[in-house]
């Protein structure tokens, strides 16, 4: 007899779990909180949105806006923020729809495909956030050089450009690392399993 066939017998004869749950215990479990990955992606996305936007209440935005006005950037900031909010809202809706669509009754591969799609939404969201930040920083630099153009010599202009460039890259780098850590931890295992399943279908 095949080795595994013998083990199959052992498997069949294995004792039931000593702790059997009663209907009441199952009822309690079914109504407790889920810790599934997709749910966390959704929650973290919402939290980020809320935290980022509540920063506006903490900082005195009046002053910042007068500063923008002096540089002639008021319109740019105003309209780009409207666009940014629309896009952010779109991402939140996508997060929610992804979360709703994912159903354990799909086949494992379809389920993972959907989760990977969620991952793509997250990645696009991160990319959007980072590029919006970069865009604002570049606009502010250009505008501040423009307004002070007559008081600055060439050397100072170059210094300002280099300093903002380094600052921008640094901030973007830290944020990128943060996102990688946050969502990377959640999605690493999934990605590995998905690749494993995808590999089977490709190689044969």
């Amino acid at each position: 007899m095949d080795l595994l066939e013998k083990y199959k017998k052992t498997w069949d004869n294995q004792p039931d779990e000593t702790k059997q749950f009663s209907a009441l215990e199952i009822y309690k479990l079914a109504h407790s909180k889920s810790s599934s990955i997709v749910k966390w992606i959704f929650i973290i996305g919402v939290l980020e949105f809320v935290i980022l936007n509540s920063l506006y209440f903490v900082f005195d935005m009046e002053e910042v806006y007068t500063e923008y006005e002096k540089m002639g950037l008021k319109n740019f900031i105003f309209y780009s923020q409207i666009v940014a909010y629309v896009i952010l809202f779109y991402f939140l809706v996508m997060f929610y729809l992804n979360y709703k669509r994912i159903s354990t009754t799909d086949s494992t591969k379809t389920l993972m495909k959907k989760i990977i799609k969620t991952r793509k939404t997250v990645r696009n969201y991160v990319l959007f956030n980072l590029s919006y930040m970069a865009l604002v920083m570049i606009a502010v630099t250009i505008a501040s050089i423009n307004t002070n153009f007559n008081d600055l010599n060439n050397k100072q202009i170059i210094l300002i450009i280099i300093a903002t460039l380094i600052a921008t890259l640094l901030i973007l780098g830290v944020l990128w690392l943060f996102y990688q850590l946050l969502y990377g931890i959640l999605l690493r295992k999934l990605n590995r399993n998905y690749k494993e399943l995808a590999k089977v279908n490709d190689t044969n």
């Binding site: 083990y7 294995q14 479990l29 889920s34 799909d106 494992t108 399943l197």
Partner: protein, 164 residues
């Protein structure tokens, strides 16, 4: 209506809970992780129960949802692998038909399965549960030819671990 559905779910799940327990034994290595995964499986089953049309057996549907939860929706399972507690595997066998070799074999089998990756674990589990290839391929979402190929590789890996 909701009440009826819930009563039906509770009795269906209560009588089939060993499927979930076996999956927990395969994907976790200590009692706490076992209970956590069991809880997550229960949540996912209940969440999707209204979509269960009854065109397959409850147990067939349960295999799919429970495995999917273990493979892809559950967060903690990889972290606990290293803290293996041997005493958790001494599943008590009824005193009347006590057989030490059976118990040792079962322990060896579980230890070996724990060394496989998530997908191979699922394949081996479905093999041990004597599921037909049609069901295995539907559950995992791969063609049944690929399920066979993948299965024979997983079995080979398991044999090598059991009998190096």
């Amino acid at each position: 209506m909701q009440k009826d559905l819930e009563t039906k779910f509770l009795s269906d799940f209560e009588s089939n809970q060993n499927i979930a327990h076996k999956i927990c034994r395969i994907y976790t290595t200590n009692q706490d992780a076992h209970n956590d995964l069991f809880q997550e499986i229960t949540i996912q089953l209940w969440k999707n129960y209204s979509k269960f049309r009854g065109d397959s057996k409850f147990s067939t549907w349960m295999y799919r949802v429970a495995l999917n939860t273990a493979i892809s929706l559950y967060r903690k399972s990889t972290r606990t692998i290293k803290t293996q507690d041997i005493s958790d595997f001494t599943y008590k066998i009824k005193a009347t038909d006590y057989d030490n070799t059976e118990e040792l074999q079962l322990k060896a089998l579980y230890t070996a399965i724990h060394k496989l990756n998530d997908i191979d674990k699922a394949l081996i589990f479905l093999y041990l549960e004597d599921k037909p290839y049609r069901e295995i391929s539907e559950t995992l979402g791969i063609s049944s030819v690929n399920a066979r190929v993948k299965m024979s590789r997983a079995k080979e890996k398991l044999k090598n671990i059991l009998n190096p």
